[in-house]
Each structure stands twice: as C-alpha cells, then as structure tokens.
Amino acid sequence: MIADWRWPLLATGAILAAVLLWLSLAIAGNTGWRTAGLLASGVIMGALPWRFIALRRGRAERLEAVLRGIREGVILCDEHGTILFCNPAVKRILGDNRQIRPGGSLYGVWTQRPVEQTLQLLRRRCQRNPRADRLTEFVCATRDDGLLLHCRMSLLPSDSIWSSCFLLSFDDIGRQTHALGRRDRSLREAITALRAPLASLRAAAENVALEKDLSDDDRQLFEAMIVRESRELSRRFDYMASESEVVIAAPFSMADIHSSDLLASIRLRRGPSLPRLMEHGEPCWLHAETHSLSLILDHLLSRLRQEHGVRAALLQVRPGDRRVYLECLWRGRPIATAVLEHWLTEPLCGISGSTNTRDVLERHDSTAWSRRHPSYRDAAQLTIPLPAARHQRERLLQAG
C-alpha cells in the first residue's frame, strides 16, 4: 500500500506527465491524437488526485463516523490553533452560531491564554520526559459568553506527520459547575448556621445536667435557653431541608499538575503587574483546577505588587500530609487580614459567572492567610494550602 505522504507526489508527477503528453501531441498537429491526448491527460489529471482525495475522504468519513458517536466535542488543531477537523458534537455543545469549522481559528471561540499555556505545559512535560503522559485536563471559558468547558488536550505522537498538532476534546461543565458550586456553598453555609444554635443548646444542656449547686434562677435561665435554641435549631433544619435537594457528590474538574509547571506558567507570562518571581525548593504534584488556580495566583500576585508594593518574591511549595502548601515570601510586612479578605472577594477576570478567589479556594477546600515569616522577622509570607495529587501522597507514604 502506498503511504499517504506519497500520493501528493504521485499526483503532481501525473499532472506534469499529462501536460507534457498533451503539449507534445499539440505540437505534432494531429487533431485526432491531440483530442485523444487531451482526453488521456484529462483522465490522468482527474483520476489520480481524485483517487488521493477519495482515499483521504474515505478515511475522514470513517474517522468522522467514529467521532460522531462521541458525546464530547473533538477538535484537531495545528500548532497555531487553526482547526483541521471537528466532530458534530462541537456544534451541539457550542451552538450553531460559533465560528468553529475547518480552516477557522480555535481562538475565535476559546480564550487563547489557557489553551496556549496548557499546550506549553504539555510540551514542557514531554520534553522533560518523552514517556510522560501526553494528555492533560483543564477548565477554561469561551470568549464571548464564558461557557465553562472541561477540556482534555493531547499531543499527537511525535513520529507522526501530525506531531505539531494537538487534539482537544471538551464538554460543557458550566451549568454543572455552577450548580455544584451553589450546592456546595449552600451546604457549607447550612452546616455553619447549625453550629451556633447547637453550641448554645449543648452548653446550656450541659450546664443544667453537669453543674452542681445550680441555683433555681440559673436553672430556669438555662432551661428557657434550651427551649429557645431547640426551636431555632428546628427552624434552621426545616429551612435546610427545604432548600437542599439531593446532594450528588460530583467532583469539580480538577487535574494533577506539577508545581514547577504551574509556577513556570505564572513566571513566563509575568508582566509588569507582577513582582519578580523566583522559585525555591523541591517541586511536587498537586491536584487543582489549573486555569482557575493560575488566575487566582495572578490576581493575588498582582495585588501584592500593585497595592502592597512587593517588587520581588520567592515562590515555594512545601508538601504536607494531605496538602501542598504554596507559599509566597517577600521582604516586608504581611498583608493585613482585612486587605486580604478584600482581595479574596474581588471578582476574577477570565472565568465565568461571579466567581472570586475565595470561591475557587473553597472548591479546593482551601483558604489563604498572610503572616510574618516564623524565622525571618523582616519577611512575610502568603500561604495557600492546596490538595496534594494522589501520587504525591503515595510518594510521601512510601518515603515513610
């Protein structure tokens, strides 16, 4: 069987042969031979390219038939984001009005930065270790309406003619993420709201039951409190029961990322709004919504530079039992709690809805704090605990 790449050469050769044949017959001046030559060259010119195109089309149709059954959108792009192929699910997920078609640009719809960053991270990973996983996941938003997409990007085999291309498969998780976020927040608020009356109830009940020499006045006071707090607890429970629907535990779109890749992606796009960043310590794996996390780090670091006057900072990751502690250290004073709280509640650009840094951190079961460095009194730090990747935890366990 002739390899795919030889067909264009054969077709070009055949076209040249046909043209030469027609020219030689034309020069010979014989009308019959000239007509026959014209027909022959036409057949050769027509047949070979069409054979080539038919073969490619046949393969494309078979590929499309396979991809048609896939629920996720699949797009094949070259290194510049030009679309070479897309399956029908793309239209279903993104809608008819999007300019997603072969020859168009991916970045007409996708936000360019997260795609390019992810591609860069993936290439770095494969350069570092050719046997590394050539696939990675991330979440990003569409440019016009912020539709949140869970994307899987994979590099094609390095020995294929498509080696500079990448494959992007995706699904809409915007609504799901939004609903999960709302449910997550409601559940957390409900649990927090129950703790206060429960604390008062328990303290009052224990005072009545356990304290000796309780005066009649004190007893009446705590008994009345028990009744009052029980009613409050019932009221809050009823509210919680009516508000909460069935909680389905579904994970947010998190993926493993190597801290060096994350920090490199921040450092590489460092603009004048960020402090000069240096990395310190051993890198490790963490589990996060990569794009959201890089956005919040961008946000916090730019605030650190612009509002706190930090011109240079050290970034390090410190592995803990279940978490990885991302720490930013600088010479100067810590960020005041009220100021940090304000930064955490500012809306983020480049992400759908009214998401802020706190929302993203809470999805990572995290928060942030700033304090004076425990060893260097003239230095301060910002700490963000993040979930460790599973194999990071396994490595720590194996290390004992």
């Binding site: 927090t192 703790r195 206060a196 328990r202 409190m225 005041a336 709690t337 009220a338």
Partner: protein, 123 residues
C-alpha cells in the same frame, strides 16, 4: 488573684453559658459582642485569656487576633478561637495567625474548661 477571661462572641446565649461556666471555675469574666469592643476591653482590663469567636460583624476574630498578636505589650495574652468554621484548613489558619487553641462549635463545655485550664496553666 483570679485569672481574667474576656469572652468575645456575637451570640448572646453562648456568651451567657461560657460566662456562667468560667465564673463557676473562679475566673473573672468580661464579655464583648464584637471585635472592636473586644480590643477596647483588652486595653481596659488586660485579660489573661481571650475566648474569641471568629465570625463576628465589623471585625472578625482573625482580624482581632492579628491586632493583638502585633502588640509587644500583649505577648503573654493567650487566645482561644471558637468557631463555627469547622474545616481543618480553618483551624490551620487560626493557629498560624497566632491563636493558642482552636475549638470548633458545637463543643463540650468540659472541653472548653479543659483547654482554658491547659492554656492558662501553661504560662
């Protein structure tokens, strides 16, 4: 001389129970219902320990803790945070911000008493 405890919480019922509990143990007790009042009462009474709620209007417990820990004249002051924020990471944050102990609501009264005695006894 009896040790002095400042109880800071915006929930009056829990303040009442904790105040009763601490007085029964022989402590002198002052109460505040928000962070700003707490800072004023710290200056006024120089307590040995603050039982500090985290979620309060105007100025939360972390902010109060930050102000208190920033003052050299209060380095002997002990702080126990009481909070409805039950996540582990919040506990880590409280201790990193300078609290000596962190108790999650709802708590057993005996647990609070034990922690108070441990923290004051450890001076």
């Amino acid at each position: 001389m009896a040790k002095h405890i400042l109880i800071v919480d915006d929930e009056p019922n829990i303040v009442l129970s904790l105040e009763f509990l601490m007085r029964k143990r022989g402590y002198t007790v002052t109460t505040a219902s928000d962070g700003e009042e707490a800072l004023r009462l710290v200056d006024e009474h120089k307590p040995d320990l603050v039982l500090l709620d985290v979620m309060m209007p105007r100025m939360d417990g972390y902010q109060v803790c930050e102000v208190l820990r920033g003052r050299d004249d209060l380095k002997d002051l002990r702080i126990i945070m009481l909070t409805a924020k039950g996540r582990d990471v919040e506990r880590e944050k409280g201790l990193s911000m300078g609290a000596d102990e962190y108790i999650t609501k709802p708590f057993s009264t005996q647990e609070v008493v034990t922690r108070v005695e441990q923290v004051l006894g450890g001076e």
